[in-house]
Amino acid sequence: MKNQYYVTKYDVKADNAFALEDNIMVKDGLTTAGSKMLHNYISPIDATVVRKLLDKGMELAGKTKLDEFAVMGVSGDNNELSGVVGAVLDKTCRIALCNDVFGKVRRQAAENCLYYIRPTYGTVSRFGLVQTVSSMDQIGIVCGDLDEGIETLSVIAGHDENDSTTQGDGSLALNSKGPLKEGKYTIGIPVNVMNKTDEKSKEAIKELASKYHTEEFELEHFEVLSQVMYILSSAEIGNNTSRYDGVKFGYRSENYEGLKDLYTNSRTEGFGLNMKLTSIIGAMVLSSGNYEKFYLKAMKIRRQIKEQCDELFKGFDAIAMPLTLDSQDPYVNLALYALAPLCGLPSLSVPLGSNNGVQLISQAMNENVLFDICKGGR
């Protein structure tokens, strides 16, 4: 079957089917991660999430298209609809799983009246997910019906001995229901972010604020979040994709003499422009002389942001942020999507307003608060 959102589409009934971004492995099937580099890569295993969903009796609708290695380009046009969003929108499946590090799916889901759950880092096993940014990779769920998304999360979450970063049954999504504390929820609104967003987003946040008690705060380091995110993710992407060298599996150039040639030509021909750019930036920020200036500095800011978040969540149940700024530049907008992955926090994209939405972020393991707010609780 052909479908514009899929790489591979199976003939199954949509009402019991899930779709996967083509970087999540299904045994004996192709997993290309959207790259020529892995054009012929047959997965030796089922990803843990796939195993769990199949065991629950769900069926695989297919594998969807994605940006090469799920890395969003920060230059050029970036408005093509993500495969996972398209697949759910098209009603070819009930839910779709993907690894949204750079925010494209979070934004597009809300813009298309869908939800995107990005759980706490370490909630869902990454076993069988092609690595992008190891410290931020987190499989999330695109869904049209939030309850279906929550139920899916409860199926795929939990400790996996194949991924030592997974945590026990700590996710509240798994075991807690109803109000978590007495009284009304307090939602923090980052005023310096709001100043830079567009009218549509302001409307959406306003709609949320009309229902809840909100407080304004200043999000520290917001002006450098894009840089921090870009430096750290490039370093990890460059490292994670250095295994694709034409030696063992994946694409190998037909045209080489000697080892250096084999590496250079295979990687030149196998990777797209964005991946090459990312790898070069990644190598640059880690190289001696630059490490302290870029990587280490970004790591320090990452820690400071985490510390601020820890403080914020002493007073707030969640913070709400827009999904677009008053700019079309993907690099500028990256600042909005960086907070959750940098700090390992759960986020929920909620459609609000017209073709727009907000992202709610809570402290780690507090997915339930996000769901509760989204459903209009207290």
């Binding site: 991660a33 030592s164 490292n239 990587y295």
Partner: protein, 480 residues
Amino acid sequence: MKYEVVMGLEVHVELATESKLFCSCSAKFGSEANENVCPSCSGMPGFVPALNKRAVELGIIAGLVTNCEITPRITFDKKNYFYPDLPTGHQNTQLYAPICRNGYVEIETESGKKKIRIKQIHLEEDAGKLVHDYRTDASLVDYNRASVPLIEIVSEPDFRSAEEVVAYLEKIQSLFTFADVSDCKMQEGSMRCDVNISVREAGSSELGTRTEMKNLNSFKAIARAIEYESERQITAVETGCEEIVQETRRWDDNIGESYAMRDKEDANDYRYFPNPDIMPVYISDEWIAEVKTTIPELAEEKYKRLTEEYGLSDYDSKLLTGSRKIADIFDGTLKYVDNPKEVANWILGDLSSIVNEDNKPFDEIDIDYEKLGKLIKMVEKKTVNRTIGKKILQEIYTNNVDPEEYAREHKLGMIADTGFLKDIVNKVINENEKSIIEYKEGNQKVVGFFMGKIMRETQGKADPNTVREILVEELDKYKI
């Protein structure tokens, strides 16, 4: 001008774990190429490293036996470089928080005892192996060794002679083999050593420019390489005809020279950074204490037991604790026969000479402790005599026979029937009347002559002491 050689060592030791550092593949040596490989250790996407707890414990033990401080929170870092033997394009190692720091070992050379300081010990993974196939002119890669756990022991520049270097390596080998950290076999590559070497005027406190020597595959090669490199550097300093540059040099033991390496090792910027996939490991005092109780008896303690408890000589005790293998044979056999002195005699005497004749290093032999113990008991109880015992030992060694069965089948049991022996003795005496006269005239040597004849008659199966007793008794009865 007098010069002093200053050296520091980087010793790599493969840990004696069952499985690899991040997956459940076997870590054993000598399998078919790529037999012990899975998607994880061959670098395929989608696999997350799962740290081998046993490797961490062996790292702790390595630190404890070398008097190191154990780091309470350890982390892993990625070291990046491209090479076909490195499946993921990075090596997992410890740059920022190595498992052990600030230790020392004491070595003994002819010039006395000396402490060698250990800067740090870190855990890391090994790389695979490239094999060049000359028939097809292709390079092949074997990932069996990829991700086998290693520790690297980095010393301070405390060495002043090749003798000290070898003494240190022997000490490390002894400590780690007795503690079950590693089998430390240089010939199989489970122990490897790089030497950082520089020279300076004797008495100077400044360090000269150092070079790093690689590919040192035996103690002999290490000693030769050190001699070569120190002479090269001294000549360079004295004549000024060559400048010493900081570089990595590869030792070629066949031609006895080293040459500068121009490869991955030299030109690389390793771009280290923390590995986000491996969570920090917290090593509590309780864990250390628990691990400590599992450390087997080390050579020094064993030596004490042998000399003090068993009363064995200094010399024998040193030999019996000289390697893990010989110590194991001793202790293993002692379980079956409670006579340390006899066991020591058998191992250091008869067994050693058999092994020598076989031209094998002692560490590679295989012998059943129970059978050896049984044999020693049989000789003790005079079921067989010592000469026959030695023959049976040879059979145990080469054919793994059971000594009791073997003696029974080959009718090697001693003749314990004194009546029967008396008959043989009298028969021999009667056949040699001339010798009786000599005996009566006081020539004691004749006893030996008679003994030889009698033992021949009994095919060596009589206990010489019993025979001697009977012989003297019977000879004295004779009246001329």
